[in-house]
Structures are given as structure tokens and as C-alpha cells.
Amino acid sequence: MTKLKQTKQTFLQDLLDFQGSLNGKSQFLDEVRLKAADEVRNTPFPHRKDEDWRFISLRDLYSDNYQLADGMEVSLPDISEHYLPESEGARMVFVNGSFSEKHSSTEALPEEVEIGNLADFASEDHPLVKEHLGKYGNFEGDVFSSFNAAFLSDGVFIHVPEGLKVDTPVHLLFVQTDAEVNYFATSRSLVLADANSEITIVEDYIGLGNNKYFNLPVFEVNLEEKAFVKHTKIQRESKEAIHVARTGAFVAKHANYESYTITLGAKLSRNEPRISQRDEEVEFTVDGLVLIDGDQVSDTHSVMDHRFSHAESHQLHKCVINGKAHSVFNGKIFVRKDAQKIDSFQENRNLLLSRKGLVNTKPQLEIFADDVVCTHGATVGQLEEDEVFYLKSRGLNDQQARELLIYAFALETIENIAVDSVQKLLVDEVHKYTERQLDSQLTT
């Protein structure tokens, strides 16, 4: 099915025609989908005049036709090189948004952990799915999270029962294949960590080709009392892809949510993590690293919603920009009325390496309680020539010195990631990036 002309107003609404061909049927799923489809019809498509969208253009997204990835013929090469060794037997694989049983295996996880395809759990009317789905990741007035819900089907469901500490990190691998047509995929994931439980998740998006597609995942996490969730997201989509993601996490008393978002791929990517406090005395981290070049655009809009007293939150967001790339950061520290004793820290640091690159940053504080310590900082600059000189005086050549400094700049955000192989993978990515950027600098 092709469409002659897309306009931005009807762009997502037109895609709703594909709704009928979705996998997984149940009354519950149908209700969710139809309600969400209505929301899509009634929510205007974002525009540059909207404060939240003023720095990026979505033209690349709506100027093309897409078809539903579900049911599309797929030729999949061997993907085992992307598996994390720590997560043998704790891996779920999705190909173009559809669950691939063949590649997945979860036998290394304790039996008590409920894990599997969300569509299956939802079709069976799993009470936890019915209770929690959409509570954390459906942002109000946001057409993209509604659109994701309208195509609710495959995705991750993980439930860690009370008191269980899962040692094996769970690898959620979302593979997007090379294809001749533009397709769209919408996965939905729901992670529930009960009281005193612990789990580590690696959410990993890989584009295998250089093709254009539109990926719109929504990830929901709920932490009950004293739960501890470590969540790493790696986005390495194809260089032509569009990746629009929402992550919603709710954090209960004494719980700790640690998240790291690494953006490497996609032509246009938009991340919206929103962390909300459900009770007093919580801790959360929303760190991020963005390495972009060429004509990539990366936009991060985060909200740290402090609703109750006594929270400690931390956000370090670093971006390295080269070529004609454009990086946007809008981080909001929100402290509601009577949420006292909040200690919140936010820092956005940008390394702008090229003359054609562009940085927009808007760290934002909205504070309605007086007994708080909230700070934010933002910097934009290039490598310090003094530092380069210092390293050169120690015997490094110019290229080595610069590489080392970029590497050190990026490292701060990834050194706390819990899974060793992910750290190693990212160190390699940083290395590749700096090599690439220095090469391009030498040739221009």
C-alpha cells in the first residue's frame, strides 16, 4: 500500500490503516489499540512552533511512505556477533519489532522471573499487564506514545518477583534489517521489578543496513519498594533511520533506578526519558552519551519529576558533535510543591568539533519547593589546546592526543555501566568515532 502524498497532520493517522493487519488479538489489546488510535486522530502532530519541538524538523519523518514491518518478508543474516556473552540464556531478540523466538532464550534466568513476548502475556489477559501497561510510558498529549499504543503487539514483558535478585543481565536486542521499502516498527516493553528485587537490562537497537525506517519504541519500567534496576540503552540504528523513543520509569520508596542512554546511530533520533517519583526517599540516574557526525540529529528531552520529599537524582549528559551534526538537549528538573529535601544535579557538556555542527541546549529548572538543592550546568566548547599541547609534550602525536581527550570526555558517562561487554563495546564505538572524526578532519 502506498500513499500519494503525506501531510504532516495526517501522517500518523494514515498509518493507522495498517492497524488491522497486526499480530496478536484479544479484547484487551483491541481496546487499548482503538482507544490509542482515537488519541492519535485527536492529537495534533508536533510542529516547530511547539516549544518541545522547536529545534528539530520532522520533515525527514513525514515526507516518506512507510509500511508496517509486521508480516514483511525478512532476510536476516547471522546476528550472533551482537550477542552479549554475559547474557547467554537471558536474551530476547526482536526483528523489525516482531518477537523472534528462534533467536531468543531465557533459560539462564531463575524460573520465578516471568519473561516473554508482551503480546502473548497481553492476549492471555495477564493481570499485571492489564494493571501496569501504559501507566508509565503513555505521555499525556503525546501523539507518538499513543501511536505506539495503537500498534500494541510484540515487545518485552519482564516481571521480577519480590526479593529476587537476578544476576544475569538481560539483553533485549532489537534488530532492524536492511529492506527495500521503508517500514515502521513499534515495540512496547514493560519491566516490573517487585519489592527488594534487582535486575540489569540492556536495551539494544541495531540497524543492519543503511536503509531508512521509522522505529518508535516505548519502554516502561516500574520499581516497587527497594527495587534496583540498572537500565542501559544503546541506540545504533542505521544512519538513515528515524528513532523516536519514550522511556517512562516510576520509582517507589527506597528504590533506585539507574539509566544510561547511548546514542550512536540514526539520522534523526529523539529520546524522551521521564523518571517520576512515586514515593519519598528514592534515587535515580539518567545519564547519557551522544556521539554523532555526518548529518545526524540527536535530540534528548528528559524530565526528572520530583513529586515527593527526599530524592537524590543525577544527570550527566555528554555530546560529541562533528560534521554537520546537530545535538539538542532539553533536560528538565521538576520539583513539585512540598517535595522538600531534593538533591538534584544536572550537567550537559558538549564538545563541538566542527564548524558546521550545531548545539542547542536548554537545561531547565522548575522548582516549587524551598528546601532543595538543585543545580544544573551546561557547557559548549572544543578541545582545550593546552591539554592537547600537554599530551604532545609527553610524546603523543596530535592525532593521538586529540583521540585520548575525546575518549576521556566520553568515558565518564560509560564507566559506570554494569555490564563489562557493553562497556567494552562502547569503548570500541568511541574509538571508532574518534578515528572517523580525526580522519575527516585531516582530509578537510
Binding site: 516549544e51 510543591k337 512540598d338 522538600q340 558538549n350 563541538l352 568539533l353 566542527s354 564548524r355 558546521k356 555542527g357 550545531l358 548545539v359 542547542n360 541546549t361 536548554k362 537545561p363 531547565q364 529548572l365 522548575e366 522548582i367 516549587f368 519547593a369 524551598d370 528546601d371 532543595v372 538543592v373 538543585c374 543545580t375 544544573h376 550546568g377 551546561a378 557547557t379 559548549v380 566548547g381 572544543q382
Partner: protein
């Protein structure tokens, strides 16, 4: 006056300038349309090009919508109920030649405000232009300034006496259709000050304008234009007060600064319009567009503001640094109490090479007020080696107020360096305890801490005003802790 004395003098938290002056006004219809604009122009005896300027702005304004992005909530003024021109009967629309022609009531008013206009009592070293509602009443030290070649008069006089200068620069920094309230101002602007400092001149004294809104129905739409030629320097300050009325009055001003090569303009404001009562009734709507243009190389424009009044403030003094090596500065203390709302900050636009800007903003919110800092730092692609340093600190007093920070940073040049930091906190119990332990009572302790918090900005103010500002802060926050 030492700091402790300044603090001691903080007595009574009331608004001291809330009295009204009983003067007779000329009749002037309310509302806005072409005829009214022509009538304003006629009464001011303006040349055709000024009338045209106003009418074009009015056309633009009609097409525009009121901006909704500021973080403030208020009832949009009914533009048909505002009186756009307000002249006292005694003056009959003409500026008095000497002080004898000025309504004694008005002279007394200024005396009460601490700005004596009589020659014997005039403040030494400061030339004052007194603006009462829509008219400039009197300008002191004009002759002395003229000796140095400096023109200091009301904008209406300047239009009559120096049309070539006004024509060249009016609207060149803030265009007619710049924004909703700037367009409205361009259509109906009344008196403001005009300053022209010729080449190679250091203005021999501080220039100052004192704005007073008295008429309940009228809005004030002053327009100020300051031009500093090559190698010149001027320091200008403005103060504002208004009586306490139950209704809101509209104040929509435009200030344009032009600094040519090696010129330096220092612009200080102490804004103390009536801010409304505890329940948020009454007070001034302060919607102001202020912008400076560093047109020449090595020029410098510095804004310093102490914002304590107004029910709603919406104000972003900006600097466009076009000349190479030019410098923009913004120092601000904004205090809100009761139901006041302030959305204020600055824009620093770096265009030229090696341009440098500094932003120091201190926001204090108390009562049920909301205080927002909104600023933009923009580095254009050719602004090599541009540097910006911003600090925005907010302090909250009490549990019902809000403090917000919205800094926008855009950098398109890799050789530029932009640094921004912000923090929000409150007066620490341990700090108060420490001072109390040294024998100060709680109010004094808080005053001292607040003063310390604002010190970086207050030290930028001219001497006389620094003392004034110190006092103002104390009075403003009196009784808000406890």
C-alpha cells in the same frame, strides 16, 4: 551608608510610593485606532514621518498575537479601555520652559519620591529627566550637559530639535514589528529619554530618568533611545514607581541602545512599580523590550537591573554583539513576593569575532510568587572565539513560591566557549543559626544573607542606587520568613 545601616533602615514592609498626586488631566479618549494615533501625533506636533512610523507599527500590531510562552498568568489587558495618552491640564501638552511652569503638585510628588527638581536641591552629579505619565516634566542640568555636547532630553523634544538623529536610529534596534508589545509601543509611544553622546566624549555626569505612572486609566509607553558615538561613554539609570490602585496598569516600554566603535553604555534600572496587594490585586503589568546593539568594534553595553516591583514582569534586556571584540553584560536581581510573577532574563547574540558576554542573574522568590529566568545565548557561525559565561542562582523563601530557569544555548561555532551554571537553594538554617549566634536577630541575618547573595550584581550599580537597592531588598522581603 554602610551595609548594616542600610539594613537597619529597613522598616515597615509597605510600598512607600503608593500615594497618588491630584492633578487635572486633559481629556483624551480611551482605546486604540488610527484616529487616536493621529491625535497623539497631532498633540505632540510631530512631523509626518513619525506619524507614519506609528501607523505602520499599529498595522503590524493588529496582525500580531500576544505571546503565550512567558511563564506568567494574567488577564490580558483590554486594549480598548487603556488611555494611550495622558497629559496634565496645566501643561497643555507642552513641556514647561522653566520649573515655575510645572504644576507644584508634581514637583512635590517628585520631592516625596526623593528626586527634588528645584535647582538648590538638585542631586549633584546626576542629571534627571522626570517623566510623569505620558510627558516629560522637567530635565535638570541640560545646559551643563550641552557644554560637553551631550544631548539629554525627552524623545518628543528630540523629534522636534534633532529629527535627523531620531530618524536615523529610532526603530533600528527594536523594529516596529519586533514583538506584540514593542509594536504597540511603537504605535503609541509617549515620552522617554533621548541621549546622544558625540564622539570622544565621556558624559560628565550620570544621566537618569524617573518614571512615574499616576493616572489610573492610562498606560505608560515610554520610548528611550541612547546613542553613543565612537570613543564615548555614558552611564544612564532609570527608576520607576506608581501609586496603589486596585486595577492593573499597563507599562509597555521600548529601550534602544546603540554603541558605536569603542563606545560604552551602562544602563541601570531600579524597577519598583506597584506590585499589587497580598492577594494579587492591582499592580503594574510590565512588558518591556530592551535591546542594545554593539554596532562598532570594541564597544560595550552593560545592563544592570534590580527588579522588585510590578505584578507581572516580562522583560529581557538583550545585547547584539555585532562589532568584533564587543562586550555584552547583564546583571540582574529579581525579587518577587506575594502574588508577583516575573519572567525575566536576557539574550546575548554573538555575531562578531572575539565577542564576550557575561550573565549574572539572581532570582529571589517569596510568598506565593513565581520567578523565572529565561535567557538565550546564541553563537553565530562566524563568531570565532566568542565567550559566554552565565550564572543564574535562585533562592526560595517559603514553601509556596516557585523558581524556574529556562536557559537556551545555541552554539554554531566550535571555537566558541559557552558556560552556563544555575542553582536553586534556600537560605540555609545553618547560615541563619551562625549569624544569630553572633548576636543578630533573624530578620537581620536573612537580610545579610540575601545581600550577600545579590552582592555580585549590586556592586555593578552606581553608588547612590546601590544603597537604594540594598534598602529595597530588605523592605521587599520583610516578614516573608518565619
Amino acid at each position: 551608608m554602610s551595609e548594616t545601616e542600610a539594613l537597619e533602615s529597613m522598616v515597615g514592609g509597605e510600598y512607600k510610593y503608593g500615594f497618588t498626586t491630584d492633578v487635572e488631566y486633559e481629556d483624551f479618549p480611551t482605546g486604540i485606532n488610527e484616529d487616536i494615533i493621529r491625535e497623539i501625533s497631532r498633540r505632540k506636533n510631530e512631523p509626518e514621518w513619525v506619524t507614519e512610523f506609528r501607523l505602520e507599527a499599529y498595522e503590524k500590531w493588529k496582525q500580531m498575537e500576544e505571546p503565550e510562552w512567558p511563564n506568567v498568568e494574567y488577564q490580558t489587558p483590554d486594549f480598548d479601555k487603556v488611555q494611550y495618552y495622558s497629559a496634565t491640564k496645566k501643561n497643555n501638552g507642552k513641556k514647561p520652559e522653566s520649573l515655575d511652569d510645572v504644576d507644584p503638585e508634581i514637583i512635590e510628588t517628585y520631592e516625596k519620591l526623593g528626586i527634588p527638581l528645584q535647582e538648590q536641591k538638585q542631586l549633584q552629579g546626576i542629571a534627571v529627566d522626570a517623566v510623569f505619565d505620558s510627558e516629560s516634566i522637567f530635565t535638570t542640568f541640560k545646559e551643563k550637559l550641552a557644554e560637553a555636547g551631550v544631548i539629554f532630553c525627552s524623545i518628543s523634544e528630540a523629534i522636534q530639535d534633532h529629527p535627523e538623529l531620531v530618524k536615523e536610529y529610532l526603530g533600528s534596534v527594536v523594529p516596529k514589528g519586533d514583538n506584540f508589545y514593542a509594536a504597540l509601543n511603537s504605535a503609541v509611544f509617549s515620552d522617554g529619554s533621548f541621549v546622544y553622546v558625540p564622539e570622544d566624549t565621556v558624559c560628565p555626569m550620570e544621566l537618569s530618568t524617573y518614571f512615574r505612572i499616576n493616572n489610573m486609566q492610562s498606560g505608560q509607553f515610554e520610548r528611550t533611545l541612547i546613542i553613543c558615538e565612537d570613543n564615548s561613554h555614558v552611564s544612564y539609570l532609570e527608576g520607576c514607581t506608581a501609586p496603589m490602585y486596585q486595577e492593573n496598569q499597563l507599562h509597555a516600554a521600548v529601550v534602544e541602545l546603540v554603541a558605536l566603535e569603542n563606545a560604552e553604555i551602562k544602563y541601570s534600572t531600579i524597577q519598583n512599580w506597584y506590585s499589587g496587594d497580598e492577594k494579587g490585586k492591582g499592580g503594574i503589568f510590565n512588558f518591556v523590550t530592551k535591546r542594545g546593539h554593539c554596532r562598532g568594534d570594541n564597544s560595550k553595553i552593560s545592563w544592570t537591573q534590580v527588579e522588585t516591583g510590578s505584578a507581572i514582569t516580562w522583560k529581557y534586556p538583550s545585547v547584539i554583539m555585532q562589532g568584533d571584540n564587543s562586550i555584552g553584560e547583564f546583571f540582574s536581581v529579581a525579587v518577587t513576593n506575594n502574588r508577583q510573577q516575573a519572567d525575566t532574563g536576557t539574550k546575548m547574540i554573538h555575531v562578531g569575532k572575539n565577542t564576550k558576554s557575561t550573565i549574572i542573574s539572581k532570582g529571589i522568590s517569596a510568598g506565593e510568587s513565581n520567578n523565572s529566568y529565561r535567557g538565550q545565548v546564541k553563537i553565530s557561525p562566524r563568531a570565532d572565539n566568542a565567550q559566554n559565561y552565565s550564572v543564574c542562582d535562585s533562592m526560595l523563601i517559603g514553601q509556596t513560591c516557585g523558581a524556574h530557569t529556562f536557559p537556551y544555548i545555541e552554539s554554531a561555532n566550535p571555537t566558541a566557549k559557552v558556560e552556563h551554571e544555575a542553582s536553586t537553594s534556600r537560605v540555609g538554617e545553618d547560615q541563619i543559626f551562625y549569624l544569630q549566634q553572633r548576636g543578630m536577630d533573624e530578620d537581620d541575618a536573612i537580610s545579610l544573607i540575601v545581600n550577600g547573595f545579590c552582592k555580585e550584581v549590586l556592586k555593578e550599580l552606581p553608588m547612590e542606587f546601590a544603597v537604594e537597592a540594598d534598602k529595597l531588598l530588605g523592605i521587599k522581603l520583610e516578614g516573608s520568613v518565619g
